[in-house]
């Protein structure tokens, strides 16, 4: 089984609206629904779990029903950060899944994830036990201490930017979760950070610039524009 674990536990104090990003409405649907739809219509995804910000679980369940997200199986409580939310999801999934099942962890606020990106994370996971969507940067990279001045560059080929989806074998994910607790590694932004903090290797899959994270009101507007463009393209076809 391949199960999507959608992280919707976050609340960003810097976000300009009072509604958490993942629940902002775009064309009358909360952003999370767009994300859920990506996994609903992907034929390699068997089920979906959502780690949800407290107080919004009803909303997620209701909207999921309305928009036919039939693969949604469980809604668990979100945590203080990506690691904690994923942790709650992992605890639930350990009860339900086999060791060889694949868990695809993904941010609810990345609604433009493509089929290809999801497929590739699963593919790499099958080969290496994990597949984390990642992208090179096209900018040059310089070292800095204060963000104002720099004297050294590092090759842009020596680093990679991490996104979601991040696919892990269930047993690998459970193991990472357990080791992190034992090592006192907490408060990480995502499970991938946990993996590298544990000193373990990370395996990358295809990322995409379009797989943007919605962080600002401007990003919401971008998403709207990109979504509309896609719709128009599909109508033409």
């Amino acid at each position: 089984m391949n199960i999507a674990l959608i992280l919707a536990g976050g609340i960003d104090p810097d976000f300009q609206m009072s509604v958490p990003k993942q629940f902002v409405n775009v064309y009358n649907r909360p952003i999370i629904i767009y994300t859920l739809e990506r996994f609903q219509q992907h034929n390699e995804i068997d089920a979906i779990v959502v780690a949800c910000l407290d107080g919004w679980q009803e909303m997620v369940t209701a909207y999921a029903k309305q928009f036919n997200i039939s693969k949604l199986r469980w809604v668990v409580q979100g945590g203080k950060d990506g690691q904690a939310s994923a942790g709650n999801g992992i605890v639930k999934l350990q009860e339900e899944c086999r060791d060889s099942d694949i868990i695809i962890v993904h941010d609810a606020i990345r609604p433009l994830v493509s089929d290809d990106t999801i497929t590739d994370s699963i593919r790499v996971c099958r080969e290496h036990g994990m597949g984390v969507a990642a992208m090179r940067t096209m900018d040059t990279i310089m070292r800095t201490q204060d963000g104002k001045v720099g004297t050294k560059s590092i090759s842009r080929y020596s680093i990679i930017r991490i996104q979601t989806p991040q696919a892990y074998r269930m047993d690998r994910l459970a193991d990472i979760h357990k080791k992190a607790l034992e090592a006192g590694i907490m408060g990480q932004v995502d499970m991938n950070s946990v993996v590298s903090k544990l000193g373990e290797p990370v395996w990358f899959s295809k990322g995409s610039e379009l797989n943007m994270k919605i962080n600002t009101v401007e990003d919401v507007a971008m998403f709207k524009a990109l979504y509309k463009m896609r719709q128009e393209l599909e109508k033409e076809e």
């Binding site: 800095t144 930017r161 507007a221 990109l226």
Partner: protein, 236 residues
């Protein structure tokens, strides 16, 4: 004087199209024209030089004239790499620029550059001697050798993603380029890398996630969306 140098010498092998990225049409205008417009419309830019991919100069001239890019003073030949393109443009400016004039080097394939970003690199350059549009990394960064696997976590606050525009004092940047050339350093793609190899200290100015370098067709899609967003704003 503040002179913009647009690097349009790339042949665009990454987008797998026959048309180089800077000449891909979006809503009937080549991408480079959007970039030129950003500098044309900026009150602090006095002139523009384009280092252009060989064979495309006539097309560029025609579209630029059509779009009213009156500040476009010279088109020079693009080089094998960014460094050569910049050097060609800087040499062309030797007759007209003073030592302490500012040159603003910018990728032709970054059409989403805002007026604010252009202003800030100029202001920073006046104050500190250079101004490089740069942003922090918002994502987790992992060290990798092959792009297939990686190990160490790289601290985000220790690095900056450096974009263009990059503003430099004309005297300094011309000298650095000539020095590098004499020393046989010929393959630094960007002037900032070259300046660092020459031992310079460089200063960062405002950049943006939106100031995307168009290298894939997905990037073109993002540009289209951003452009439509902006248009709707103007209509309001």
């Amino acid at each position: 004087m503040n002179i913009a140098i647009l690097l349009a010498g790339g042949s665009g092998t990454r987008t797998e199209q026959d048309v180089p990225k800077q000449f891909i049409n979006v809503y009937d205008k080549p991408i480079i024209i959007y970039t030129l417009e950003a500098f044309q419309n900026h009150p602090d830019i006095d002139g523009i030089v384009v280092a252009c991919l060989d064979g495309w100069q006539t097309i560029l001239q025609a579209y630029a004239r059509e779009a009213g890019i009156t500040k476009l003073h010279h088109i020079v030949k693009g080089g094998e790499c960014g460094q050569e393109s910049a050097r060609n443009a800087l040499r062309k400016l030797q007759g007209s620029c003073q030592e302490d004039d500012i040159v603003i080097i910018h990728d032709a394939v970054r059409p989403m550059v805002s007026a604010e970003i252009i202003s800030d690199c100029i202001v920073t350059c006046r104050r500190r001697g250079s101004g490089l549009a740069a942003i922090r990394c918002q994502e987790t960064i992992i060290r990798t050798l092959d792009g297939i696997g990686g190990d160490a976590y790289v601290k985000r606050d220790g690095i900056m993603r450096v974009q263009t525009p990059q503003a430099y004092l004309f005297g300094n940047v011309l000298e650095a380029h000539e020095s590098a050339f004499k020393q046989g350093i010929t393959n630094t793609v960007y002037t900032n890398i070259l300046m660092l190899e020459m031992g310079k200290t460089l200063y960062f100015s405002k950049g943006s996630e939106k100031n995307l370098k168009i290298t894939t067709m997905e990037d073109v899609e993002i540009f289209k969306a951003l452009y439509r967003m902006k248009k709707e704003d103007w209509v309001k």
